[in-house]
Symmetry: C2
DNA sequence: GGGAGTTGAGCAAACGTTTGCGCAAATGCG
DNA sequence: CGCATTTGCGCAAACGTTTGCTCAACTCCC
């Protein structure tokens, strides 16, 4: 309360060296002798010194902050992504600044945040980057990595191989004898949903069994639920024997609707999703799905980001990771 | 890319005034004439000027950052809280720095983050504030508001009235004729869970119908599920006719387990929860619960925080908000 | 018309760190 | 032993804003 928080010069005086030496010693500069470095570390520790990030940012231009943009709370996938990002960013000695979370587009005020706080890099999921925000980042040398979204001009990206995952699911359905296939997709302009939709449709088409029914699940549980009700209400001969919902939350909606209507999931009808959220393992869902490698996606995303923090000149790069097929009861292949 | 980002002096030169005038004009200082202010605003706009937060923080000691600590991803309530916090903090012209998200205690490195980034205030949910972190905040004049957790030494708090909500639920159960009551609680050291547990138990005891069964749901869906299975497995005469799970996620587990076991929820057994998460409205759950006023909680929390950013001397304060009882089918009172 | 008060804006010193450069002392080599 | 090199550290100038003073120019009132 009373005593001022120590600064680098407080430490310098206590250790009997110059402030610049403190600065260098604390970040492991080779030019400082091991003894001096050890002494400085000890003094700093005793004084409870911790640097002012604002001063560092002002002086060096690096803030130690990573910005993040995530989609709406209605899809737990984004929460999953955020939590993992917090963890890994912390491990790398950086901090997470939330630029935007929720539905709605990226506004100008968010580009401001990137500049004002001199964010070192930015992880964006959830939206297709509006061009002006992208331009702002590019103009100011803020590296951007799209996560689970395709790369745009001047950005890197880390994606899950949506087409491959969809093929895995389609193949599984075909192998277990399913032929009348419904697709619960979404009209939302998300590249992820489009890729899953297209990847699946193409595969099924070339296999001779194109989806016979396409419903819009609006990327929500409720949308999936309505789709499920619609499917359940179809007379038996017309009803599909399998459903691919392009995200787990929609698949949950489908499952709940089917079960509520008394349709035996896994036997009468197979349901598969995509995302691999932990909730999908619950006995009530027991959902066959493709797991997005969230840990690896964030990890590689931060790799890309950090590489570009050090060297702004690096060319854009897109990393595609394959998800893992998790086969559970909802696809009925266990029986 | 090529041109340097404008600073306050760039704007000052362009507008033909001193840098200090720019600074004052932009934050609405009365001493600057309306004409000058308008001109400065226009010039700043044209140049695309936006201040460097680090310089402001360094000079003024205020960073414009609010830190947040939230609990594990397994409970969507925290995600709900986070999203609302992002929204409201943005509206107030501040930004959100995530200090910690997830299970696990608050480590020293998190106290460092508070200091390094000169966080203006901190919202903490999820954990009981470890004393050393609290001491660090107090010593450095960082106001802290606990959200959905009781106040500790040197902190403010915003809580939902857990006891009152529990009484509302208990009363509802009694009024609909339930007498054999099970409580799915948690042994976790969360003040929230304790208050709900105690509030409910006291009320039921004084009403002459103390909970006949107490199970530990470990604050998770899985824990609730196990509790539900246990209940469903009881022979009919011993089986309770109602269950209060002290959080919605546990209630979901209970519901799913009961339904999977063929127990008719709402008729054979009533289930009520606490939190009022949006998912509880889904037809499969249709859960009677008490809604935590998340919007108001964050709002009042930020009010407390901002008041203390302006005047560090303000005494601690605890605000208790009553939740809204949402009666749905799971409590069977509709029938 | 002269003094007191008000209004509007500038000066310059912080704020704490980083970093290019400089300069001794220690070391290497011939 | 003398000279060139390396090693280890200090100096001081940034970085961009804020803010306590200072100060000139008006306005007002008697």
């Amino acid at each position: 309360m009373s005593e001022k928080r120590p600064t680098i010069v407080t430490v310098a005086e206590a250790a009997g060296v110059a402030a610049s030496t403190i600065s260098r010693a604390l970040k492991g500069d080779k030019r400082i002798s091991p003894e001096t470095r050890a002494r400085i570390a000890r003094v700093a520790q005793e004084l409870g010194y911790t640097p002012y990030a604002s001063a560092r940012a002002l002086s060096s231009g690096r803030s130690g902050l990573v910005g993040i943009v995530i989609g709406p709370a209605t899809n737990p996938f984004y929460a999953e992504l955020l939590y993992e990002a917090v963890r890994q960013i912390g491990e790398r000695g950086l901090r997470l600044l939330v630029i935007h979370a929720g539905p709605g587009p990226l506004e100008n005020s968010m580009a401001d945040a990137l500049l004002q706080y001199q964010v070192d890099g930015c992880l964006i999921s959830s939206v297709d980057l509006p061009s002006h925000v992208g331009a702002v980042c590019a103009a100011n040398g803020v590296p951007v990595v799209m996560v689970n979204r395709v790369a745009q001009a001047d950005t890197c990206a880390v994606v899950c191989d949506n087409a491959f995952g969809s093929v895995q699911l389609g193949d599984l359905l075909l192998r277990s004898g399913r032929r009348r296939i419904a697709l619960v997709r979404t009209s939302a302009a998300s590249s992820t949903a489009r890729e899953r939709d297209a990847g699946f449709t193409n595969f099924m088409q070339s296999a001779g069994h194109p989806p016979s029914l396409r419903l819009d699940g609006r990327s929500t549980y409720e949308g999936g639920f309505e789709a499920g009700r619609h499917i359940a209400a179809l007379p038996a001969p017309e009803r599909p024997d399998s459903v691919y919902a392009v995200s787990d939350i929609m698949a949950w909606g489908v499952l709940d609707a089917l079960r509520l209507a008394g349709v035996a999931v896994g036997r009468d009808i197979a349901v598969v999703g995509f995302d691999g959220l932990p909730q999908s393992a619950r006995p009530v869902y027991d959902l066959t799905t493709v797991e997005q490698p969230v840990v690896a996606m964030i990890g590689r995303g931060l790799d890309l980001l950090q590489a570009r923090m050090r060297d702004k000149g690096l060319p854009d790069e897109t990393i595609s990771l394959r998800g893992r097929l998790i086969e559970r009861g909802s696809s009925g292949s266990r029986a």
